[in-house]
């Protein structure tokens, strides 16, 4: 097949973007991630890596990390269809005044991607989680 033929084929697939997953939702993202044991482990690995990174850990100074892991796990459970009830504050309030930069936020995302890889999470679940988390950037980044 020529390059133009193959490219025409690939261009035809464009309209199918997004429609593939419609029938695959038999399990929530939370369940597919592995539920509480995996999510809480991913949360702890993600945040503790940042807590130990002097370039990006300023917002975690003096924060009780164990309590943070618990709250964050519940929040992720709530936003990935795990059925948990998140009773904490909204992301904007939580991060207010912490002077989080875009670089800090990206570092946390990279750390999360790394933790997901280390825990054997599949590409699909990884990308779905990032898609859910991406819009929070506006509320988290204040500097």
């Amino acid at each position: 097949m020529t390059a133009s033929g193959l490219s025409r084929l690939l261009l035809i697939l464009l309209p199918l973007i997004g429609s593939f997953d419609a029938n695959a939702e038999e399990q929530s993202l939370y369940a597919r991630l592995g539920g509480e044991p995996v999510v809480s482990r991913v949360v702890e690995q993600t945040v503790s890596r940042i807590a130990n990174d002097p370039r990006h850990n300023h917002s975690l100074a003096k924060v009780n990390l164990n309590k943070l892991y618990k709250k964050l796990t519940v929040h992720l459970c709530a936003i990935t269809g795990g059925g948990c009830e998140y009773t904490g504050d909204d992301m904007k309030t939580v991060h207010a005044g912490l002077d989080i930069t875009q670089g800090d936020n990206y570092a946390m995302i990279e750390s999360l991607r790394q933790a997901l890889d280390e825990n054997g999470i599949g590409e699909r679940e990884k990308n779905e989680l990032l898609k859910i988390l991406a819009p929070f950037e506006r509320e988290v980044v204040s500097k």
Partner: protein
């Protein structure tokens, strides 16, 4: 007229270390209600200011307390309070106190207040804090947001209250609630001064958050225009008191 004479006798200007305070003056009703709202406001404030800076019309007694701790060194942050020996009504003089949050610390570390005082938590930090206490004297939790004033917490029972922050684990403060308006806290020099006490016998007690055991009280007999000096020694534990969670 009885109310005004009581006012002159009992009025006491608040000690220097406490924060917000308001003294209520209540002139006779007839004069008061004939004034407009704004002039009542000005009247009350002018009256309270005048009273604050005017000399006491009834001579009062003063008490200076020296508190020592480890190695007989002056002990700061020790609460000193004097309760009259004869039981009497003790109206609330200083109605408000402030415990601020600055750079992820409570300020001040130790506060002493009278039962019924409302404590304000202004939160100077631009991040949120979550103040809580599990002390039976006052159990509460309060979310503090940057730039948003929160309702004060009224401490309605005497006793010891330990405060923490749910987000920043190291934050610690102590509130000691007493049933008398005659209280003070020692400064770095280990000295606490209580002023404006009437004649009579008083039971004087000392409390410090790191004390190993209750400090024996002392009785003093005060006379008008007299300043008495007493000393206390507190057995201070080598490590800071661990707050209960």
């Amino acid at each position: 007229m009885k109310k005004i004479s009581v006012l002159f006798n009992r009025h006491q200007c608040p000690p220097a270390f406490s924060g917000v305070h308001r003294v209520q003056a209540r002139p006779s009703k007839r004069i008061f209600f004939s004034l407009s709202i704004s002039s009542r406001f000005i009247f009350v404030n002018a009256l309270s200011s005048a009273l604050c800076f005017a000399p006491s019309l009834t001579p009062a007694a003063n008490l200076t307390v020296n508190v020592t701790g480890k190695n007989a060194q002056p002990q700061a942050d020790a609460v000193v309070y004097a309760t009259p020996a004869t039981k009497q009504a003790m109206p609330l003089k200083v109605k408000d106190a402030v415990i601020d949050q600055v750079d992820k610390e409570f300020m001040p570390l130790v506060s002493v207040i009278q039962t019924g005082t409302a404590v304000h938590f202004p939160n100077k930090d631009n991040i949120r804090h979550h103040v809580y206490s599990f002390s039976p004297t006052k159990i509460f939790a309060l979310k503090l947001y940057a730039g948003t004033p929160s309702a004060p917490v009224i401490f309605d029972k005497p006793g010891e209250v330990v405060l923490g922050c749910n987000i920043h684990d190291h934050m610690l403060a102590y509130v000691y609630v007493v049933d008398t308006p005659y209280f003070a806290k020692t400064g770095q020099d280990g000295v606490a001064r209580i002023e404006g006490l009437g004649d009579g016998s008083y039971d004087v007690r000392v409390w410090h958050p790191n004390q190993r055991m209750a400090v024996t009280s002392q009785t003093v007999k005060l006379k008008a225009e007299e300043t008495q000096n007493i000393k206390f020694d507190v057995d201070i534990a080598p490590r800071p008191a661990v707050k209960k969670e």
